[in-house]
């Protein structure tokens, strides 16, 4: 099916007659379309449909945390399509004004919910992204070396987690709510904090923004972190540094040096501890 036909079919599922607008840039197999006040998301044909339906049920059961789906899972040919109310995304122009506290509170409350659902998509999705990096891209050697020195990533679940949290996973519709349930499930809650932790450790996320996020998470009773947060965050944050570096190299992102430099420091840390 051509993408134009897919978009038209998705638009008709929304019941709105407004012109469809494709949201986001190149997302590979995923297509997101806004039609009036409704957003439709088409997922790859090989998506685990049973797991996705469980994820939609969890979101529907917790509208205080997550944007609830408008309808049960739909299909266009063999592609699953989820339908959502439109919400205003976080402005990328002003990271200082972003809802860091609200995000942290939503995640802390999510992590406190009864543990149910499919296995979370992380850290599996991190590993996939790193392994997709072609080794002949400039700086790929450093990034892949950092991946090699990482210990195996912990797959043990102990809470309900979002699985792919960043500021793009939040919209405002009356209040801030989490969106994108595609990786929602049972996992280690530290993964939901590890991406901002990685950006902080790479010197990209300013320390005051990290402090706002980290401290609100703790104040809301978040279960992911011991008193000394890096005891839990250390390896997951390193994994996210490597993943973001790999993604940045593949997408040709400018100013990738802070991530590559952080990969260098990760290699140095593990090599010195191996010797010692």
């Amino acid at each position: 099916m051509r993408v134009d036909d897919l978009i038209r079919a998705m638009a008709s599922l929304t019941g709105s007659s407004a012109d469809p607008e494709v949201l986001g840039g190149d997302r590979g197999e995923v297509v997101v379309v806004r039609v009036g006040d409704v957003v439709a998301k088409a997922l790859p044909a090989d998506t685990d449909v049973e797991a996705l339906e469980q994820r939609l049920e969890i979101a529907a059961a917790h509208p205080e945390l997550m944007l609830p789906p408008l309808k049960p899972l739909q299909f266009v040919d063999d592609r699953p399509v989820t339908l959502w109310p439109y919400g205003t995304p976080v402005s990328q122009a002003d990271p200082d004004g972003a809802p860091w506290e609200e995000s942290a509170a939503l995640l802390a409350k999510l992590h406190a919910l009864p543990v149910r659902g499919p296995v979370a998509g992380t850290p599996e999705r991190i590993v996939r992204a790193i392994e997709a990096l072609p080794p002949d891209v400039p700086h790929a050697d450093v990034v892949l070396r950092a991946y090699e020195v990482l210990p195996p990533l912990d797959m043990n679940g102990r809470a309900l987690i979002h699985g792919d949290w960043h500021l793009g996973q939040l919209v405002h519709r009356g209040a801030w709510r989490l969106i994108d349930v595609d990786d929602l499930g049972v996992g280690d809650p530290v993964w939901d904090l590890a991406r901002p932790a990685a950006l902080f450790a790479a010197g990209v996320l300013p320390d005051d923004l990290w402090a706002r996020f980290l401290n609100t998470y703790r104040e809301t009773g978040g279960v992911a972190l011991p008193t000394s947060e890096w005891e839990a965050l250390n390896i997951p944050a390193q994994a996210y540094v490597v993943q973001m570096a790999a993604r940045a190299l593949m997408s040709g992102l400018q100013a990738v040096e802070p991530l590559v430099e952080a990969c260098r420091r990760i290699v140095a840390t593990h090599e010195s501890s191996d010797r010692g």
Partner: protein, 104 residues
Amino acid sequence: MQCPKCHANMRTFDRMGVHIEQCDGCRGVFLDYGELESITRLEAQMQAPPPVAAPPPAAYPQPAQPAWGAAPQQVHHHHGGHAGYGGGYGHRKHRGLGGLFFSS
């Protein structure tokens, strides 16, 4: 006594228990052993306690970096008015990478 520098006459003053010899000619001051320490002590007593530094606007302490983390971020106030990193955003050195906050 006579001034060791210009040899004019020196006069003794007694200020708050400290003996000070001052030269009538060059106005130089001669201190006996221990008198400098006495003056320093007195000065410390007389000075009001320094004002307590105002707490920073952020209520949270500086978060810790891991062993492999980036060097602590520096805020260069003396660069505040300059172009480029000006406007108090000296520590936001990687603003171009803000997109990373928003993507998978």
